[in-house]
């Protein structure tokens, strides 16, 4: 019929064209099929094994993105089958059954009002002065040049995600207990989130304010992160140096004021005097903290304004750098950026040198020769994700702990067998006259613990 319409030659040409078209379509179709096969053949009813392979492939490629950080509890499921019915076995217990989030909702903040840490107080110095006068038994100075200090630290009330995280928190608080006992400092270990708006690293602000207002007898509040450890037990802070300042942080003036470097100072370990200035500073510091849009937006501002800051939500340290750099006239004269000793010591440059320090120096320096504080920034032993490999962090924390613990044990004549070992060995024999024994560092009865000698006992 077509031939009759068009003529035989033309028909044959058409046929050829059609054949070519068919081949083209075939190849095109094959290409599409192959591409679908590469991207999503699972939907096409390929053999079950291929489907499984593909799903594993995709899941594994997602996990591959963070290899160093995953800390997984080794719970071989099959091993526990025979234990799963035993109610007295701790290994098979799911802790989530314990905590009950009972009654009451979170306080819903008024979205129209700007965030405040609390009602504005303007006469704190007077209130505090009166209270101290009325309570002479709670003096703010224990001795001349020795202010009453409260060390504040804390951690979450829920167990750590990392199975050994709580163990390292325990060692860290033992380390702080030791230093504070030797230096006559009180400790407040916080496990409560006072303000849900200021969660995470900002949680310290409402806590600090609350403690300053509740403890007028405290002259200095010393905030210390839970991942910081004391490594110089003999070093007493130079209180006279700070008699005219209200905030002492480890840092460098050039890096904060000139370079606006986001790590120009460190808020993991700092001193804050209990006075009106401190309350005002906290009020000026807090506005970047409330979680959500405010914190994210503030984070962008900080990344833009500060040198070297990566992109993430606003943190208290960057906010402090920004505050000081932009309002130097208001705050700068009462802030002391200490770099003479390691009020905060970044662990990365310190932990490998401990043996060298033991050989060449002795406790009491507080600086690069024998750091006061070794701060494990970025390790996050309580969480599942840190910025450094697990092995390095935990092993070094053990070493730092033992380095500090050796100084305490030597009071009693012992020391760890090595910086990596939990076992201790005797280094001073017991005698029948224990009171004649003196420890090398003089920490048994150090001068900074002496009571003011008064006429009444």
């Amino acid at each position: 019929m077509l031939e009759r319409c068009l003529g035989q030659q033309r028909v044959r040409r058409i046929q050829r064209a059609v054949r070519h078209a068919k081949v083209t379509f075939l190849c095109l179709f094959m290409t599409v099929v192959v591409m679908r096969g590469m991207l999503g053949a699972g939907k096409f009813g390929t053999p079950a094994q291929d489907l499984d392979d593909l799903t594993t492939h995709f899941y594994a490629s997602r996990k591959h993105a963070e290899p160093h950080r995953v800390l997984v509890e080794a719970q071989p499921e099959n091993e526990n089958e025979n234990q799963s019915n035993d109610p007295k076995n701790y290994a098979t217990f799911d802790f989530n059954k314990i905590l009950k989030d009972e009654g009451g909702e979170d306080e819903k903040p008024d979205p129209n009002k700007p965030y405040t840490l609390g009602p504005k107080i303007s006469d704190w110095d007077e209130q505090r002065g009166e209270w101290l006068k009325r309570n002479p038994n709670f003096p703010n100075f224990i001795r001349e040049n020795k202010p009453r200090v409260l060390l504040v630290t804390g951690s979450s009330p829920k167990p750590c995600e990392n199975p050994v995280g709580d163990h390292y928190l325990l060692k860290s608080i033992k380390n702080k207990i030791d230093y504070c006992r030797l230096h006559g400092i009180e400790i407040f270990y916080n496990m409560a989130l006072l303000d849900a708006e200021m969660a995470g690293f900002w949680a310290k602000l409402p806590l600090i304010r609350k403690l300053l207002l509740s403890h007028p007898e405290v002259e200095f509040l010393w905030w210390m992160d839970s991942d910081a450890m004391f490594t110089d037990m003999a070093f007493e802070l130079p209180w006279e140096r700070y008699k005219d300042v209200n905030l002492v942080m480890h840092g460098w003036n050039e890096m904060v004021y000139d370079q606006k470097n986001w790590i120009g100072l460190n808020t993991g370990s700092f001193l804050l005097r209990n006075n009106q200035w401190a309350l005002d500073l906290l009020d000026a510091w807090a506005p970047m903290g409330p979680k959500g849009k405010i914190r994210d937006e503030a984070g962008k501002i900080l990344t833009r304004e500060l040198k070297g800051r990566p992109v993430f939500e606003a943190d208290d340290q960057s906010a402090m750098v920004y505050l000081l750099a932009t309002q130097r006239d208001t705050w700068g004269n009462k802030v002391y950026l200490e770099s003479g000793y390691y009020l905060h010591g970044y662990w990365g440059i310190l932990v490998d040198k401990y043996e060298e320090m033991i050989e060449n120096y002795h406790p009491g320096f507080g600086d690069h020769r024998w750091p006061l504080v070794t701060h494990f920034v970025g390790c996050k032993p309580c969480g599942k994700f840190g910025d450094y490999p697990v092995e390095k962090c935990l092993k070094q924390m053990d070493r730092a702990f033992n380095f500090g613990d050796n100084q305490v044990l030597q009071i009693y004549g012992f020391t760890h067998k090595s910086l990596a070992s939990r076992r201790v060995k005797r280094v001073r024999n017991e005698t029948g006259n224990p009171l004649e024994a003196k420890d090398d560092l003089g920490l048994m009865h150090p001068a900074f613990k002496a009571v003011k000698v008064s006429t009444s006992s």
Binding site: L26, A60, K100, L211, V390, Y412, F414, N433
Partner: protein, 466 residues
């Protein structure tokens, strides 16, 4: 056969090879009659060509598909392998940390550990004599380290836990909470804490480890009047109550227990060594020396355990523990020691947790802190829970819930000072119980725990920590 079939044959092949019906095939079917014009050889040739192309394309398709998935297999297993390696390494590190192995153990640690034989006598250290006199002289020479601060004798709280992580992570979490609880109580009452994580004497490991440490602290700190041992599984639940030390001016050991259980029934739980106070004096050193010999692990401890089980009522058979040994010692040498031992049961210097923790809500409703006894227990002691190990004597859920409740019950008394409280005894979250004001010191004056206790005495508080 014939051209009609040939043409149908051709069209069928076409449609199967093409996969979609092209309009021309139908046209072809319709115009099958016209086919007779084309020679058969060429038809077959064309057919074969088509078949070849079809098969080739199909084959290539399958190959490529298979090849894609196959390659996918290889690459995913590579990433998987790398990730698996890292997870394994992490787990290896964790397992190493949690094991008992130590890098400084001698290479031949697989040998049998050396135990003291039954004939060896064990001593805590060189015999000290005249300690009371030595101490008095030292105190007079060192007036800046007095044994009393603001009228209160100096107390040192000693507690501790093993140096390696617990068998299960929850154990460490509760050790942490227990130490926070002790820090709070001791801060409020001006008591110093020593948290021991070292085995000073490898012979006296386990529950016996407290003995060398108590002795060591007594001898190193003559300014300390009382050493208070407290187990790591005991928590303060009355933050206001203070140990009435004036009651014990003629005694050197204060321990919770029941005299009738002790003397009449000779029960192995007549006293509890989970929480007790030792005065820093010669008598205490002598008692420690007499107490220690049942402790050294190995055959001595085993044999001693048998003696204790035979002599004490209700004691199961296991190696000697410090509590049974002390009871046995005080019973067998009653005349020598008992006049200086105060067996306290007026308040819960040790409070057995079962029977107490369920009543917390009732206590909150009816009573108030400061009583220290069954109305508001001073110490809640979780005997038998063993959260640091793998197995306890009680169901895990019951133990952990009770420990959480006790912790929050105590924490509420601390948080009240700051105007907060837990939302429930099992809740980690807190709620405000007092509004923030611009004059915070007024609220504080009403709720300060420290002041009513200390403010009455003329020399007041114990805030000075030195």
């Amino acid at each position: 056969m014939g051209q009609d079939n040939g043409s149908t044959f051709t069209t069928q092949k076409r449609s199967s090879g093409g996969g979609s019906a092209l309009p021309t095939t139908n046209g072809r079917a319709a115009g099958a009659a016209a086919r007779t014009m084309i020679p058969r050889g060429r038809q077959i040739h064309k057919t074969f060509n088509n078949i070849k192309i079809t098969i080739l394309c199909g084959f290539v398709t399958i190959l490529v598909l298979r090849g894609t998935i196959g390659i996918g297999n290889l690459s995913s297993s590579e990433a998987d392998a790398v990730n698996q390696n890292l997870i394994e390494e992490t787990n290896r590190v964790l397992a190493e940390i949690r094991s008992d192995k130590d890098p400084d153990d001698p290479a031949d640690s697989t040998d049998e550990p050396q135990f003291l034989s039954l004939n060896d006598t064990y001593t805590l250290g060189p015999k000290i004599v005249g300690w009371d006199q030595q101490r008095k002289v030292w105190l007079s020479q060192n007036p800046e380290f007095p044994s009393s601060v603001n009228g209160k004798p100096r107390i040192l709280l000693l507690t501790g836990s093993p140096p390696n992580p617990c068998d299960n992570p929850i154990g460490d979490h509760y050790l942490l909470k227990a130490v926070k609880n002790k820090i709070d109580y001791c801060r409020i009452h001006g008591i110093e804490i020593v948290y021991n994580m070292a085995h000073l004497d490898k012979e006296l490991a386990g529950y016996w480890a407290k003995l060398p440490m108590i002795r060591r602290l007594m001898l190193s700190h003559p300014e300390v009047e009382w050493i208070w041992w407290m187990d790591s599984d005991a928590m303060f639940t009355d933050m206001v109550f203070e140990v009435p030390l004036s009651k014990y001016s003629n005694h050197n050991l204060v321990i919770h227990g029941y005299p009738d259980l002790l003397f009449e029934q000779k029960s192995w739980i007549a006293l509890n060594t989970g929480s007790f106070l030792f005065r820093n004096c010669q008598w205490s050193l002598d008692l420690l020396d007499t107490w220690a010999p049942m402790g050294p692990k190995g055959p001595i401890r085993e044999e001693a355990g048998k003696v204790l089980t035979a002599n004490l009522k209700g004691r199961p058979a296991f190696e000697a523990d410090d509590q049974s040994a002390l009871i046995y010692l005080l019973l067998s040498q009653k005349e020598k020691w008992m006049d200086k031992v105060y067996v306290e049961n007026q308040y819960y210097l040790h409070g057995y947790w079962l029977g107490l923790v369920e009543r917390y809500e009732e206590m909150i409703e009816k009573y108030h802190p400061g009583l220290g006894d069954e109305r508001w227990p001073f110490v809640t002691h979780f005997v038998g829970c063993k959260p640091c190990g793998s197995y306890g004597d009680y169901p895990v859920e019951q133990c952990l819930k009770s420990m959480e409740r006790a912790f929050n019950f105590a924490d509420n008394q601390v948080l009240k000072f700051y105007g907060f409280g837990h939302r429930g005894l099992l809740s980690p979250k807190i709620k405000r119980i007092a509004n923030e004001t611009a004059t915070p010191l007024e609220y504080m004056d009403q709720v300060d725990i420290r002041r009513p206790v200390h403010g009455d005495e003329s020399s007041g508080s114990s805030e000075t920590k030195s």
